[in-house]
């Protein structure tokens, strides 16, 4: 009889240990997915920041009268390089997106530029990065949603408290990015 009681106790401990391990691993896995998703965004942001001087260089000669837009791009690039947190990077990203959109919108007025192979390739490269950022953001936000659901609902929240894990911020799209860009001539 005593034997059976011992087995039951052992069984209960094993089940509890399994449940603990499951939630611990789940939280870790979800957190890792977020950092992976974040590095995907970061790589693309960095690539774009590196490409911007090339773009400025190749269009400067043609678009001599568009000083303000170049200032805008340079400013966005500086902000991007200074940004550290997710929110800062999201903000700098929005600014950069708008600045680049403006450059490409203005480029429509310069037929010579639009026939330039080098420029077209840069444009494709940058719009490709733009889309990748959008998709990386989608993946990142999905991952954050799943993680936040886990660490804010019962029973995940108990584990999260013990493990010191908190909800993570989303990579936000601001209103200005959603609106079409105004180009003044």
């Amino acid at each position: 009889m005593v034997d059976i009681i011992w087995w039951v106790i052992l069984g209960v401990i094993a089940v509890v240990a399994l449940i603990l391990a499951y939630f611990y691993n789940r939280i870790i896995v979800l957190a890792n997915r977020i950092s992976n998703a974040w590095s995907q965004i970061d790589v693309q942001l960095k690539k774009r920041t590196d490409l911007v001087p090339n773009l400025v260089e190749s269009v400067k000669g043609y678009m001599k009268h568009e000083k303000s837009v170049f200032e805008m791009v340079t400013k966005a690039r500086e902000n991007m390089m200074k940004a550290g947190t997710v929110q800062e990077k999201a903000k700098a990203n929005n600014m950069m997106t708008n600045a680049l959109k403006t450059i490409f919108a203005l480029a429509e007025n310069y037929p010579i530029l639009k026939a330039n192979e080098n420029f077209l390739m840069l444009q494709e490269e940058l719009s490709g990065i733009e889309n990748k950022i959008a998709y990386a953001r989608q993946f990142y936000n999905d991952s954050v949603l799943e993680f936040n659901n886990m660490v804010t609902t019962v029973p995940g929240v108990w584990f999260a408290n013990i493990m010191g894990k908190q909800s993570k911020p989303y990579f936000e799209v601001t209103e200005s990015e959603r609106k079409p860009v105004k180009v003044s001539f």
Partner: protein, 300 residues
């Protein structure tokens, strides 16, 4: 809910791949045994061993090289990244791979007016997607993204592993059955010297197998790939969050495609839409009707 079914799908594909592998080897061994029985029963064991080893070697070789073989047969070439259009294609693939959370597959292009695409490989880490120039030239960005997202969901779900195995299985079993039939003609003259009691039975069983197995594998090819196309369409919409893009791509493909691609039947199920026109009934079609796919996408 969604997550569970997608992980289930991966597990199912891996399991089915193993079953198919065992089935093909068992089939090879069985036919080897029967050929041995017809030729000379005293060395039948030798035939079994040879058939088993050959079947296993073929399967292992295909596991690692099936994707290259398929890319070769379809005359796919690596995308030229100095070309703006093909660079664009590569960017779309890389972007959607990020959205799907997988490593970007290698990008190939097939020079053909027909609009089609396929994905192959044994796992997402070493997969490839191939797109025809017809597709690349005639679709806009949203439409192209829809098609690529469809292919990437095949990659992510390990559909590509099972589909590549099916392609090899269809080809291999057809060859084995043919070999068996041939051996019957050559072995036919030697029967008078031995007792026919169970030799005749074996021949009949072998014949039935040789006829039924290729049909069976083809039926698996059809049934499974049709069901997967719907699933991949749904996953595509989930990735791009824009089912209308894929729907409009399908509508374009429907009006443009003549269904005259030079592609063996064994790999037709890999493609986005049926590369060859089949006039057989829907039981034999590897793809669901395009209208039906569009209808489902529009209701999302």
């Amino acid at each position: 809910m969604e997550k569970i079914s997608f992980h289930d799908q991966i597990a199912r594909n891996k399991r089915n791949s193993v079953f198919l592998m065992i089935f093909i080897i068992a089939f090879a061994v069985l036919l080897g045994f029967m050929i041995g029985e017809i030729y000379d029963p005293s060395i039948a064991i030798l035939f079994i061993i040879v058939a088993g080893v050959m079947g296993f070697a073929q399967i292992s070789y295909s596991y690692y090289n099936g994707d290259k073989m398929i890319l070769n047969i379809t005359h796919a070439r690596p995308a030229n990244t100095n070309d703006v259009k093909e660079k664009h294609l590569e960017n779309v693939v890389e972007g959607l791979a990020i959205a799907a959370g997988i490593k970007a597959p290698k990008v190939y292009v097939i020079d053909s007016e027909e609009m089609n695409a396929f994905a192959t490989g044994r796992a997402p880490e070493n997969s490839s997607v191939a797109i025809t120039t017809g597709l690349l030239n005639k679709l806009n960005r949203e439409e192209l993204e829809g098609v690529i997202a469809h292919e990437l969901s095949h990659v992510r779900n390990y559909d590509i592993r099972f589909a590549t195995f099916i392609a090899i299985g269809v080809g291999l079993i057809a060859i084995l059955s043919y070999m068996f039939m041939r051996s019957m003609w050559f072995g036919g003259g030697r029967h008078d010297s031995r007792d026919r009691g169970n030799g005749g039975l074996i021949i009949i069983i072998g014949l039935i197998l040789a006829i039924v197995a290729p049909i069976l594998v083809r039926l698996i090819q059809m049934a499974i790939s049709r069901q997967r196309e719907y699933l991949a369409d749904a996953s595509s919409a989930q990735l791009t969050r824009y089912p209308a893009g894929l729907a409009s791509a399908l509508a374009k493909i429907k009006t443009v495609n003549k269904g005259n691609m030079d592609v063996p039947e064994a790999i037709s199920h890999l493609f986005f839409v049926d590369p060859t026109k089949t006039y057989l009934d829907s039981l034999y079609a590897t793809h669901p009707p395009i209208e039906k796919r569009i209808e489902i996408l529009k209701s999302m």
